[in-house]
């Protein structure tokens, strides 16, 4: 039996080598710039002249060289000419979670909706695909939207970056954006990717300052999914702000390793409350479970990413809202002016991409509000540093 297993393994290896040996032609993953114009829009709706083959067999499929020539490529809206202004600016966005998650994904949908309200529905349209936790699926979506002639394709999730770097060169006339990230892949010769991120430690810091002032027990807590990303930045900022205000404060941190597990987040909140915490914060879409506990136990909550006041207006003190609309408008202007990428945009309190959104129904003591405003001002001026890398 063992012998046969060994033989099988050997065959598998040989087959592997046979099937997967490197291609004779060099095929680096970042498509060579010289080849770029030849690459046809993947999955793109072909010009109507191409007859839809009834029985598509891979062998009959048109070879890459038969692809529609770039000059005839059906991308009507990319040219930054005056004529383009007549057509609406079209944005497509790909998001990792549900678009109504009251967290990261929703912050982008809210911003797009805001821009649409400002510019008018005839001037600005957007399409979306949400719930794309799987990166290859997201890559397919990015390609598809780019092929459909959207002017700007936003990959709203740090996990999408590597795929975007591969895809963007294939669509040199489309603008792309990637967040949260600070890399436009310009060093690899990619010219049409913008990057946006947030220094969410700033908002977390402000929240931490208020939390430390409001906490009677001297114990606060922060819940996140994984110790990474903008959520981690927020939590570390929160801790720094709380400790700066009250050096003796206890800051509990719990990670659930799951962006969706509301039940576990709620138990994490229960545990923190049982351990004495009376002010909580958290990130990801699963915090709704924790907010529910905070509401039930009448424990204060600080929202993040999107405004979460609507969930519990008695206990939510304030939210750090990501308002991406300034970045979206900047990218629209850039794109219309022919600058498709290379912009790194970092959201801060200063440029008002980070907004501290106070709950009007919560009576924040005047001195605490003053301290919070001073902290915001200090962070804007640079007099206060959060100390988070």
């Amino acid at each position: 039996m063992k012998r046969l297993l060994f033989v099988l393994a050997l065959i598998a290896i040989i087959a592997t080598i046979a099937a997967c040996a490197p291609a004779p032609t060099p095929a680096p993953t970042a498509a060579p710039p010289t080849k770029a114009p030849e690459v046809k829009p993947t999955e793109a709706p072909k010009p109507t002249a191409v007859p839809p083959t009834a029985a598509p067999k891979p062998t009959d499929a048109p070879k890459p060289t038969d692809a529609p020539k770039p000059t005839e490529a059906p991308k009507p809206t990319v040219a930054p000419t005056a004529a383009a202004a007549a057509k609406p600016f079209r944005v497509a966005v790909i998001m990792p979670s549900a678009k109504n998650d009251l967290a990261f994904s929703q912050s982008m949908v809210d911003a797009l909706t805001k821009v649409q309200t400002e510019l008018g529905k005839d001037k600005f349209e957007f399409a979306y695909t949400d719930g794309l936790g799987n990166v290859p699926d997201a890559a397919a979506a990015i390609r598809d939207y780019a092929g459909k002639g959207f002017d700007l394709v936003i990959a709203h999730g740090s996990q999408y970056g590597a795929s975007l770097a591969d895809i963007a060169p294939d669509f040199p006339k489309t603008a792309f954006a990637w967040g949260t990230a600070a890399d436009t892949f310009a060093s690899k010769g990619v010219k049409n990717i913008n990057a946006y991120t947030v220094q969410s430690d700033q908002g977390g810091y402000v929240e931490g300052v208020i939390a430390a002032k409001l906490s009677k027990s001297g114990s606060v807590g922060a819940i996140g999914p994984v110790p990474a990303g903008d959520g981690n930045l927020t939590i570390l900022g929160f801790e720094a702000g709380a400790k700066a205000t009250n050096p003796n404060i206890k800051v509990a941190k719990t990670f659930t390793n799951d962006f969706n597990n509301a039940a576990l987040m709620s138990q994490a909140a229960q545990t923190m409350i049982a351990a004495g915490a009376d002010v909580l914060t958290g990130t990801s879409q699963a915090v709704v479970g924790a907010i529910s506990v905070a509401k039930d136990k009448n424990v204060l909550w600080f929202g993040n990413q999107s405004a979460q006041t609507s969930l519990a207006n008695k206990v939510v003190v304030a939210n750090q809202v990501y308002d991406w609309s300034p970045f979206i408008k900047q990218m629209i202007d850039n794109t219309k002016a022919g600058k498709l990428g290379g912009e790194v945009m970092i959201g801060t309190l200063k440029n008002k991409v980070l907004v501290i959104d106070y709950n009007k129904d919560y009576a924040l003591p005047a001195d605490v509000k003053k301290l919070a405003d001073d902290t915001v001002q200090g962070l804007i001026d640079g007099k206060i540093q959060t100390g988070v890398k």
């Binding site: 046969l4 393994a9 598998a12 290896i13 087959a15 592997t16 080598i17 099937a19 997967c20 040996a21 490197p22 291609a23 095929a27 680096p28 993953t29 498509a31 993947t42 999955e43 709706p45 072909k46 598509p56 891979p58 499929a61 048109p62 890459p64 549900a98 399409a127 695909t129 949400d130 719930g131 936790g133 799987n134 290859p136 699926d137 890559a139 397919a140 598809d144 459909k148 740090s158 970056g161 590597a162 591969d166 294939d170 990230a181 999914p225 994984v226 110790p227 990474a228 990303g229 903008d230 981690n232 570390l236 659930t256 390793n257 799951d258 962006f259 969706n260 597990n261 988070v388 890398k389």
Partner: protein, 369 residues
């Protein structure tokens, strides 16, 4: 052709009709959502089969299903239930990652086979745990594989926020829980500019090999004898437990190999964790089981079944983008079609089941005599 027995086509036609009924229910939902079902399904077909690229995407999507599905065939034929594909895919991919990051400067002729073999070993290791637990400690495999799936997810996040993390973001608080891009030498051959990669061919070869193993070798006969009737097999002198463990090792190994192939073959050529296994597997560990069943638990039948299932997944995503319905519709449609097709098996398999049973009976007979 006049005397052709059309009922022999049942295993093909019945699932197609059932799938069509599932689509019909989906069409009603689309109507309720205010979308045009015709437009939606046209986009679905276009997205799955409409161009060379779409076909390539479909096959890429089908690839992990095929590996998991062929592994499932072995387990089911041996009478053990392996629903640990999710975890085995992830552990295989982690092993392959470790190889690629350890030998960063190695040439492709070494890195690709070594990495894929590592994935094979990793999957066997993870499947083997469930196998040993069952055989030695009498721990039911349904329990252990479910738990091992979750554990694999935690291990992945642990490694990706720790030792395996991309060094460029490792020291920042905003670090991304992912590895660096694996060295280009580890990439499988790809038919540029499509996404079609060599791992798909490997999957087909493996499916054929497993067919040979199960039906043309003594080991295969014994595996199936154990699955058909463990008592009779034991009576015939077959070490039942050893073959059950072997089935776990092999089915886990194939899932692990599938994970390595997915990693080396598909952009972004790196592992990313969002907590849990799903960000990497996209439920392939479960969908592969479904594909195996649609292929009548036959390795060769699993090939077209995976392809069609991949087409469903790719097409449904494309549908969502075209008619802009919530992405939840995609998963709903997926589930509907699985339910309809599995429910229709009674009509598809009436004949073939009988044949399989007869064949199995003769196997046991042959082993006992």
């Amino acid at each position: 052709m006049k005397n052709f027995d059309f009922s022999r086509l049942n295993p093909i036609i019945v699932p197609l009709i059932a799938g069509g009924l599932g689509l019909l229910v989906g069409a009603l939902m689309l109507l309720a959502l205010g979308a045009n079902p015709l437009e939606a399904y046209a986009a679905m077909m276009q997205g799955a089969f409409g161009s060379t690229n779409s076909l390539a995407n479909t096959m890429v999507k089908a690839c992990p299903l095929l590996f998991v599905g062929v592994g499932t065939c072995i387990a089911y034929r041996c009478g053990v239930i392996n629903i640990g594909g999710e975890g085995q895919l992830v552990i295989g991919a982690l092993f392959a990652t470790a190889v690629a990051l350890t030998f960063q400067d190695a040439p492709a002729w070494f890195l690709v086979p070594a990495g894929l073999f590592a994935g094979f070993v990793g999957g066997a290791f993870w499947g083997g745990i469930a196998g040993v637990l069952k055989v030695k400690f009498n721990v039911n495999e349904v329990l252990s594989t479910i738990m091992l799936n979750s554990i694999a997810g935690f291990i992945m996040t642990f490694l990706l926020t720790g030792v395996l993390i991309d060094p460029t973001t490792a020291d920042k608080a905003i670090k991304i829980p992912q590895t660096q891009r694996l060295p280009a030498a580890s990439d499988l051959w790809r038919w540029v500019p499509t996404s079609f990669h060599g791992g798909i061919l490997l999957g087909v070869v493996i499916a054929a090999l497993i067919y040979v193993l199960l039906w043309r070798t003594t080991i295969g006969y014994r595996i199936r004898a154990v699955g058909f009737n463990p008592k009779a097999a034991r009576y015939a002198g077959i070490a039942v437990q050893r073959y059950q463990l072997l089935a776990f090792l092999l089915s886990g190994a194939l899932a692990g190999l599938g994970g390595a192939v997915e990693l080396y073959g598909v952009t972004p050529h790196r592992l990313f964790s969002e907590g849990g296994t799903i960000s990497f597997t996209s439920n392939a560990g479960f969908n592969g089981i479904v594909a195996a069943l649609f292929g009548s638990l036959h390795p060769l039948g699993t090939i077209p079944a995976s392809f069609l299932f991949g087409a469903l997944l790719v097409g449904a995503n494309s549908l969502q983008r075209t008619v802009q319905v919530p992405s939840a519709f995609v998963i709903t449609l997926d589930g509907l079609i699985v339910v309809f097709v599995v429910a229709s098996q009674i009509w598809a398999q009436k004949r073939s089941v009988k044949r399989v049973d007869e064949a199995r009976a003769s196997v046991v007979k042959a082993e006992t005599t």
